[in-house]
Symmetry: C2
Subunit: 353 residues, 2 copies
């Protein structure tokens, strides 16, 4: 980096374009462009002149002009409910790996269950800001409409994690079988002797949550166990929401002996509220979570939960998106179900009698 020695601070050139490089090198702008994009096609001596001129001028291409000209941004937009969710952190890791390998930058967009954000996302899809989109969140009806109606403008989209709504069914998607996983978790609770199982769920706007609830209900039904009114509590999908929901469960006249939470984050809230009520996990109330985030293992007691292969979901999602962007996606296999797994730790015990 010996060009640093030339005190580059001094020259506050507002702009150095390909033209300037061409001038300095004594070649045409086409040649400069070729040196950058297809060096092999330029003779060595010419290339050397250009390289030198690039260094001398401190040129770097205007990415905006390139994207515009090429009609490609090499940016992939990822839409998710919340970047703070540790589960999505892992999904993002997988996404990032494949993105980087394929030369894409990642643009992250949170919906935060917010309609305004959904509108922006709709606008983005229609614009050419990104080459493709990974959809990890439920869309508002508006977003869904945009996706369906203006499909002729929209960039390729792959859906991840989230169960798909009928309108979006034609988009490829990668997720676990949420209903089956929830059923498995509930079955486990039942197999441990629980007959009163509560379900702490998130916003009903999320199909994924609905699927989990469906699995829970199916398990209860199959075991011929009734679900009392008030055992299924819908809260905000965060800690305060879970605390509130758990409180109503703890105070229920027929208190559940076990609580199945729609995700690990809510399980953290549930733990807190159970303990605050002077009860113990799992002795008084067993808890099962969903996601197996990095916190599950250090919770006290360690949380029994459903593991989603988060990183793999991210990788698969992005892999398929890349294919779609390259126009190489094979039609047909739109839906890809990845395996989940019940991770048994120490948050479930047999109920006291």
């Amino acid at each position: 980096m010996d060009e640093t020695a030339t005190k580059p601070e001094v020259s506050i050139k507002p702009e150095v374009s390909i033209k300037e490089v061409a001038r300095v090198a004594g070649v045409s702008i086409a040649t400069v462009s070729r040196c950058l994009n297809d060096p092999e096609s330029v003779r060595e001596p010419t290339r050397d002149k250009v390289t030198k001129a690039i260094v001398e001028t401190g040129y770097s291409p205007n990415v905006l002009a390139q994207s515009f000209r090429r009609g490609k941004t090499n940016v992939i937009m990822v839409v998710l409910p919340s970047v703070g969710d540790p589960f999505f952190t892992d999904v993002l890791k997988g996404i990032r790996t494949v993105a980087r390998a394929n030369g894409y930058a990642i643009m992250i967009n949170e919906t935060q269950f917010n309609t305004l954000a959904a509108d922006e996302i709709g606008a983005m899809m229609v614009s050419r800001w990104a080459d493709g989109m990974v959809l990890l969140a439920s869309l508002s009806p508006y977003g869904t409409e945009v996706l369906s109606a203006r499909s002729h403008r929209a960039i390729p989209i792959v859906v991840g994690c989230e169960t798909i709504s009928p309108e979006l069914a034609r988009f490829p998607s990668v997720h676990i079988d949420n209903a089956a996983a929830a059923r498995e978790a509930t079955d486990y609770l039942i197999s441990m002797g629980h007959k009163r199982v509560g379900f702490v769920s998130g916003e009903a706007t999320s199909l994924l949550t609905l699927d989990r609830e469906r699995g829970y209900r199916a398990a209860m039904k199959a075991a011929k166990l009734g679900i009392e009114s008030g055992w299924v509590v819908q809260g905000n999908m965060n800690i305060p929401g879970a605390i509130k929901a758990t409180r109503s469960l703890v105070n229920h006249k027929r208190r559940p002996t076990a609580i199945f939470c729609a995700n690990d984050e809510m399980a953290m809230g549930a733990y807190h509220e159970i303990k605050s009520a002077g009860l113990k996990v799992p002795e008084d109330i067993s808890v099962v979570g969903f996601d197996d985030t990095r916190y599950a293992e250090v919770m006290d007691p360690p949380l029994t939960t459903i593991r989603q292969p988060a990183e793999e979901i991210g990788e698969r999602t992005l892999y398929r998106l890349c294919k779609a962007i390259e126009g190489k996606s094979e039609p047909g296999d739109t839906l890809e179900i990845v395996p989940h797994q019940l991770i048994v730790r120490r948050s479930v015990a047999k109920p006291r009698r």
Copy 2:
């Protein structure tokens, strides 16, 4: 939305540009452009024709062309160590609020303490992908070099949270006084009677961590307390790192009665390891964290920690960046220190004697 009734699915127009709209409306492209950007300057009947044509054609502007032409992307890049960190989730919230209010979209980029990523970031700064950048992470030496050397190309940058390295001192920055906060936390521990205080720190690449360590050492020194070799443990700034670091503290021949963790996430790891060793928080070992993330309150016991005004940091950072982008930043006040606060919960007790 009655245009939905016209079955837009049918027409798979690959591209509809401003030209097409102009043709349909029977006006020039300049007029179409004006209708979009400065409607007042167009006569009502003309505007109506254009509006109708836009609806009819399903036109939406090519954002890439606009950005290129205007030399402005309305995108702000946020660089942070990890989106998964709950502290940054809150900072991002503040950033997002101000960004939205000012018409900017947010592009998030994780460094993950990774040099490759830092290179990409350097490239981004030099490109015109974003109008400005918020830097919430320590830069690699390379990144720092890029920032310093090619400053004449670089977009406006504001640093947040992170203490600034000498090379970056000319950039505006917003953060708490990390050393003072760490000293306050340690002083609190000392005031509770602790004489053996350990420090679980993160990677030494982070100036911020170093500042916190400095505050801890200053407090110990002021209280005339020695720091045994092995009481300051440097781990990875995550849960496994904290577990490992805490283990060595728990097994230390002169075991600390209190542990100060460089952030709340590490405190979670510390809790886990302390409990795994059959010890209790705070009876056997007191713990103090840093950040006051949303988990601090639901930890068992609730964590005593330093609160950073995360959202405010995000807001202030972005506010100043917007000013800088608009060319309105007043020089001079580059450094902005925001207040921190010690939040006393129940993870600290007097040491057993």
